[in-house]
């Protein structure tokens, strides 16, 4: 089930200029696409459009088409899209439903809303908890978890709905280093298990680790795309304000200092 964006343009309500223009993107099963770009480049907006929240929930105007496995989803209401595409956000705390007393009930929230059989709700919830490695937290109070744990919880809540694609908008942006490591690990595991993910990040290290291909945005347009290694080695990254992953920076610094990059990398590892 491929998610296809063609000619997508988007303008926020009341905004004079479009936030996105001429976006063509394919998200195929089992692929992880990294989305990079300076802040305000349009990463979040693209995530909102890809998940359907824009324009359904946040208003604004859209142009172009969104297809799910060939079917145009323009007329689909948000709750129908939510079953097929899950979206996670930066702030771990505001993704909590605030109606669940335990982690288990929080994860079960999505499947419960879908009206599926109770036994299946329970099964899916345990599966999602295990996929994120947080089954031991099942009886804990969601409000009392760390930021990183809450992000894992949020992703488990999405996975429990068994979406075909996962869109993650800067999942580690508001986490401390411990939380970032926790979430980065989990995303790595998801990627390796074949989940289709579109992940936006400022931390290109993370993208380098999990994404097979990358797309770079600047001022609402795609300026670079291709396999991750190529994109990250492209000299134009600097111009568009994307921070290079530490490995690449190390390599360049070594070269500039006249040292052998391979040796430096080995020593640093």
């Amino acid at each position: 089930m491929t998610l296809t964006l063609r000619g997508i343009g988007y303008r926020h309500a009341g905004a004079p200029r479009p936030a996105l223009l001429d976006i063509d993107l394919d998200l195929a099963d089992g692929t992880v696409v990294g989305l990079a770009g300076a802040s305000e480049a349009g990463k979040t907006t693209l995530c909102l459009v890809a998940s359907g929240l824009a324009p359904r929930t946040v208003g604004g105007r859209i142009r172009g088409t969104l297809h799910l496995d060939g079917e145009n989803v323009d007329r689909w209401p948000m709750h129908r899209l939510a079953e097929r595409i899950g979206i996670g956000f930066q702030n771990p705390a505001t993704q909590l439903s605030q109606v669940a007393g335990t982690v288990f009930e929080e994860v079960a929230f999505g499947p419960m809303n879908l009206g599926i059989d109770r036994d299946e709700v329970i099964d899916r919830t345990w599966e999602a908890l295990e996929a994120m490695g947080i089954e031991a937290l099942a009886e804990r109070d969601p409000e009392r978890l760390s930021g990183g744990q809450q992000q894992l919880l949020a992703m488990a809540g999405l996975l429990a709905m068994r979406p075909e694609h996962l869109v993650l908008d800067e999942p580690t942006a508001q986490l401390d280093p411990a939380g970032t490591a926790l979430v980065a690990d989990a995303i790595g595991r998801l990627a390796r298990s074949g989940t289709s993910i579109l992940i936006a990040e400022q931390k290109t290290d993370l993208l380098a680790a999990v994404a097979g291909e990358m797309v770079v945005l600047a001022e609402g347009r795609i300026v670079l795309r291709g396999p991750t290694a190529e994109v990250l080695a492209d000299p134009r990254l600097d111009e568009v304000g994307v921070a290079l992953p530490s490995a690449v920076r190390l390599r360049r610094a070594a070269l500039a200092a006249g040292l052998d990059p391979a040796l430096v990398a080995e020593t640093a590892a």
Binding site: L48, S51, L53, R56, T57, V58, P77, M78, H79, R80, A82, E83, G86, I87, F89, N91, T94, Q95, L96, S97, Q98, V99, G101, T102, F104, E105, A108, F109, G110, P111, M112, N113, L114, G115, I116, D117, R118, D119, V121, I122, D123, W126, A138, E139, E143, A154, G157, L158, M161
Partner: protein
Amino acid sequence: MAGSVDLIEGRSLPAAIGRPGPSAVHRLNPLTKATLATTTSVAAVVLGGLVGPLLLVAVAVVLPAIAAGVVGRLAKTALLLALPIALSAFLVNVFFFPGAETVLFRIGPITATAEGLGFAFEIMARIMAISGAVTLFYLTTRPADLVLDLERRGVSPRVAFVANASVQTVPAMVERAAQITAAQRARGLDTEGSPWRRVRGIVPIVGPVILGSIAEVEERTMALEARAFTRPGRRTLLWSPADSRAESLVRWGLLIGLVALIGLRIGGVLA
């Protein structure tokens, strides 16, 4: 369908969910306890006088509290709850009851009267009944359980959401206020001192709390839509509190009794 947590084929719910309470009263259906609290409160008002409310306190509040093993906590909490009103009611009515004739004593221009005292006691008895009933409910029922029971009976998931989320938001907002207070203090905000200064000190705290909470509404809306909350129709419930025919009869009995009481009152049978 109603029922406590069952063990099902495959996986079961974690033990903490739907765990029954420690006493028979705790294990009663939440709606039954809510009906008891409401009818007791309203009956205390309708009955008026002194004997009626006190009788209600004894039968509908203290007795179940003993059965539930929460008498101590009930007494403490209910008294704390009722104290400000009781005090005010006492002072205002004893001293400021116009048209009263039996004077007890005077303090300057203010007169204490026996009729005022009598009326004060009546009001206090009524308040004891109400706060006692409400506290008993709070001590033996989890709010989320009541909302769940109502949802099972057909209340819209949206209403259930607002009720549950409100209960969780109050302590969360208080914590946020505490954090902002600490941060503002670190920046030199003065929160001690004269009442005027304290009131002025509230503004830099209340403002960010309110605005911050409202700003979050947008993110929460998106997150809830992303979990298909707006899907029309019923949603599956993980469990619901047990109910029985006997309890249903009790609930109806309480309601009918209350209506009868109101009828008697309007008809003038009761004083």
